[in-house]
């Protein structure tokens, strides 16, 4: 075994260990756990509410658009956190960069409004 191959030996050991752990836990729970089957237990768990019908229903594409836009503007807020915690260190430069960032998002928001992406009817 030459130098470069032996470097990867710990990785091999770790992957074997990880796989082995998963397999072991699955087998042990299967062996020692009691298994009682009933119609209620075999149902899908959906937040405690009784599941009805198929999940693959056609739904209005408007929901999708709203969801995507929500994610977009939600991600924007995430970027505020690291900036806010370092607000003092960043100083004026940071404030201006953030203003630019928000301005760009605001432009996007205006564009969406103008294109009537928020209109539900």
């Amino acid at each position: 075994m030459n130098g470069s191959t032996s470097e990867y030996l710990p990785m091999l050991i770790q992957s074997v260990f990880a796989l082995g752990f998963v397999a072991m836990v699955l087998i042990i729970t299967h062996l020692i756990g009691p298994s009682r089957k009933s119609a209620k237990k075999l149902e899908n768990f959906e937040c405690g509410v009784e599941a009805k019908g198929n999940a693959r229903l056609p739904f209005s594409v408007k929901y999708f658009l709203t969801a995507i836009l929500f994610v977009l503007f939600d991600v924007e807020v995430i970027f505020f956190y690291p900036w806010a915690t370092n607000f003092k260190e960043f100083g004026m430069d940071g404030l201006l960069s953030m203003a630019l960032f928000v301005a760009l998002f605001l432009l996007g928001f205006l564009y969406l409004r103008k294109k009537q992406a928020f209109k539900w009817e």
């Binding site: 470069s4 470097e7 760009l104 432009l107 205006l110 564009y111 103008k114 294109k115």
Partner: protein
């Protein structure tokens, strides 16, 4: 550097002009904006400094390629205005997306940090996924968009993983530091060469080199024709420019790890691209395969990697872009929004449409590499670069590929001059469209007769 900011603002401006429905203003804004961007870019010629905290290195190479891409986009916008002359609902969005794609291309030619390279590729690709599907109600366009998206996502994954591995070894994203690391280290770890290979695969996907070319014909055929032209010219130029920039600045000292693989990719791309193009009966598919083969020629200077390489890549990209845009423009003039454009569509073109026929002849001759057109000198410089590094077999195979190429580039011409069964009516054109055709003819001739005006630019 100012070009980057200016183009971003221009993109937003065009979006808003479209949203507020000032239809008459859209095209003039785009054209004036791009001309201003071109001059702003030219003004940065003397400025050879890194900017944005060392993320971008705006040197002669970057300025030349940016200029070339701006000119290509400008010509394509004019073609698009003809393409969309009868419908105008989404045209501002399409123009804006093309400008955003250009920003991605600009970053790809001027990066000095691997993160910037990745961001550039993503800006370019994400806008293109939408552009490929911009004919929303057409199933082929949707298919092209989805296929391109899936393949592009795979390619980005490969590229990103390669960048990660290289960061893991060198502890830096900066090109200069990586290059120092390569020079200082006696024996590079296996992880480093794995990273180089993954980056190579990512780039091969993006420029559509064999064996990572499977998406090209379907995507090129399904996308709207002027977007196909856009992908075949601007995107390919940006991809090759980034490929060369990275490999020249970082991995030139360790060509033992990637040379053989790139050699095979290069030769296979030239041969398969040309041979498959011979068998196509559909014009867009034929041009798609021809663009695959041209990616192969563009890889030769990267393979040779000497002091002639950058100018050879630049000249070849310029010659190829201009000829391709002209060829696609003729195709757009002939077609009426359909996807299938069989080669006999050209039948009888010559009699009533002199400008379009001349443009077709010049572009096909230039793509085939017949002197005195630009395409010939592009091939000549590429082969010269290869010979300087002693790549004789590659040159022999590339010449065989070009000979095969002459056969299929002549097919549309034979149809165009064939008047059996009646000739085509005169096709209604507008000023912008004729301007693009004339510019294509003049530039192809001019570059062919005076190759030195562009050749020494990237330096």
């Amino acid at each position: 550097m100012t070009t980057l900011i200016f183009l971003s603002l221009l993109g937003f401006l065009v979006l808003f002009i479209g949203a507020f429905d000032y239809k008459k203003l859209i095209l003039p804004t785009v054209i004036i904006g791009l001309i201003v961007a071109f001059f702003l870019n030219a003004m940065d010629w003397e400025l050879t400094a890194t900017s944005f905290y060392g993320m971008i290195d705006y040197n002669h190479y970057a300025v030349s390629f940016t200029g070339l891409m701006i000119v290509s986009v400008l010509l394509l916008m004019l073609v698009a205005s003809y393409h969309f002359r009868n419908e105008g609902s989404h045209i501002a969005d399409i123009y804006a997306l093309m400008i955003f794609t250009l920003i991605g291309g600009l970053l790809m030619t001027s990066f000095s940090n691997l993160v910037m390279l990745f961001i550039g590729i993503e800006i370019l690709s994400i806008a293109l996924y939408i552009l490929a599907g911009s004919r929303r109600l057409n199933i082929a366009s949707n298919e092209a968009s989805l296929k391109y998206f899936l393949m592009g996502a795979f390619a980005s994954g490969f590229l990103l993983f390669g960048i990660t591995l290289i960061f893991g070894v060198t502890n830096s994203f900066n090109l200069a530091e990586i290059s120092d690391f390569v020079a200082d280290t006696e024996e590079l770890p296996t992880l480093f060469s794995t990273g180089v290979m993954l980056i190579l695969i990512g780039f091969a996907f993006k420029i559509g080199a064999v064996p990572f070319h499977f998406w090209t014909p379907d995507v090129y055929q399904g996308a709207p024709t002027f977007i196909t032209a856009f992908m075949a010219t601007v995107v390919k130029t940006a991809g090759i420019a980034a490929f060369y920039r990275l490999f020249d600045s970082c991995f030139s000292g360790i060509d033992g790890t990637w040379f053989k693989i790139l050699w095979i990719i290069c030769v296979a791309t030239i041969l398969l691209g040309n041979i498959t193009a011979v068998m196509q009966n559909e014009s867009k598919r034929m041009l798609a395969w021809s663009s695959v083969s041209h990616a192969g020629y563009l890889l030769i200077p990267i393979l040779a990697l000497n002091e002639l390489s950058s100018s050879a890549i630049f000249y070849y990209s310029a010659a190829y872009s201009i000829a391709s845009i002209t060829a696609f423009a003729v195709l757009i003039g002939l077609s009426k929004f359909q996807n299938d454009l069989p080669l006999d569509q050209y039948k009888g073109l010559a009699k009533n449409n002199p400008i379009m026929t001349t443009a077709l002849v010049v572009s096909m001759f230039s793509l085939a590499g017949i002197p005195p057109l630009a395409g010939f000198f592009g091939k000549y410089f590429v082969f010269l670069t290869a010979m300087q590094s002693g790549l004789i077999y590659v040159v022999v195979i590339a010449i065989i590929g070009s000979l095969i190429g002459i056969y299929y580039y002549f097919k549309p011409l034979i149809y165009a001059f064939n008047n059996e069964g009646g000739s085509l009516e005169k096709i209604e054109t507008n000023f912008a469209f004729n301007f693009v055709l004339m510019a294509g003819i003049v530039l192809s001739l001019l570059l062919g007769i005076f190759p030195d005006i562009l050749r020494n630019l990237p330096g």
